[in-house]
Amino acid sequence: MGLFGFLKAKAPAPEPGRAETQDPAREQAQMEDLRELARHLDEDRALLSGALRDLQPGMAPGELANALFSLCFRPLGLAAFFLALVDWERDALHFPLYHEGGRSRPRPSRRLSESPGLTGQTLAQARPLYLRTLEEGRVFGVVLSEVEKESGLVPQSWYGVPLGADPAWGARPFGVVSFQSFQPDAFTESRLRLMDALGEVLAFALKADPDRPFAGGFDGR
């Protein structure tokens, strides 16, 4: 449901043939809904602007991922967040940043073909993967971290955005950024689209080369 669908669902429609009621209680509720919506939209804009400002060329993958995490941790209510980069030739999955349990933790690289997990699924299908509950995650072959196994605190919602999924980047995606929450089905459709966009910004920042000539030369035609 989009943002305006949300608003429509919350606000009962006026009776047919009647103008909107002037009932103060209804009007107050409408204004609260509108303010909530405006706050939500402002938050999204701030996230996009912040990502395009803070994710700079030349930063290491871990630094870029950390900058993105710092921006979206609170607004998106994240329990865990990671950046995975794939080395297709060596069949290896690396984690420049893996944030869970309130801090960044080293996560060992692993063989992609032996233990694809949700990240491998996202890479294989080259499109975002959204799992609303841990049960869904188990069906898709979730690989739990050591912290998750020990603490039993496992995020319910898992969203993975492939990096470089468009054929313009190459034959296969080069990584995945994952946003996770303890709440089941935590991410609305509009938030999923926002995370897609944040993934795109991250992909461009990872591959930005300020000295690269323009495609087609300086005239750029």
Binding site: G2, R45, F204
Partner: protein
């Protein structure tokens, strides 16, 4: 994903126009409508950015995506070749069509584009009078027709600690209406400029530090 963008404004205008609502509710609705359109516009424009596209192609895609929503009269992309002291315009759209602008000698050119490049910051001129005061250089079409956009906004490309000292270009948005671009609209244009800079310099083959 395209569905969200293609439905722009249909639902809000139908649902939120509500006659009979109090002025405060109507004001809030208008505010939310503009914010929602800004958000959709930003997401749509980010989605069209692809690596390996020529500057003109990317700029045309941006123009097609935002011309109507932003009410643009003129839109252009300027790139600077500092080595050859040239200012080039891969895309310059005014009067409803793309025009060919002859490359200029950068060091001899003193228009608003140059100011954005030298100040390394976005500049907003909400009225033509302010553009004149700042040394605007008008195109032939503008001089002949007298149709000069009142609002002028220029975003430098390649600004920030990760970029070389000097921006490599400017993206300019112009409208006939005075003060046509709100603060939030200008933030959208800033975001588009930043994304365009990344897309123009993206190198899919760039090796990554996998640690």
């Amino acid at each position: 994903m395209a569905a969200e963008g293609s439905k722009r404004m249909e639902t809000p205008s139908a649902e939120l126009a509500g006659a009979g609502a109090s002025p405060e509710v109507q004001r809030l609705r208008a505010e939310v409508r503009e914010r929602d359109e800004d958000r959709r516009l930003t997401l749509d424009l980010l989605r069209i950015m692809k690596p390996g596209l020529a500057p003109k192609v990317l700029a045309e895609s941006i123009r097609n995506g935002c011309e109507s929503a932003l009410g643009l009269a003129t839109f252009y992309l300027a790139l600077v070749d500092y080595g050859r002291d040239r200012l080039l315009f891969p895309l310059y759209c005014e009067g409803g069509k793309a025009r060919t602008i002859t490359p200029r000698v950068f060091s001899e050119f003193g228009g608003l584009t140059t100011r954005v490049l030298t100040e390394k910051a976005a500049l907003y001129f909400p009225e033509k009078r302010l553009q004149d005061d700042s040394g605007a250089a008008y195109t032939d079409a503008e001089r002949i027709t007298g149709l000069i956009p009142e609002s002028w906004y220029g975003v430098p490309l390649g600004v920030g600690p990760g970029w070389p000292d000097r921006p490599f270009g400017v993206l300019s948005f112009q409208a006939f209406a005075k003060d046509a671009f709100s603060q939030t609209r200008r933030e959208v244009m800033d975001a588009v400029g930043a994304a365009l800079a990344l897309a123009l310099r993206a190198n899919p083959a760039r090796p990554l530090d996998l640690r």
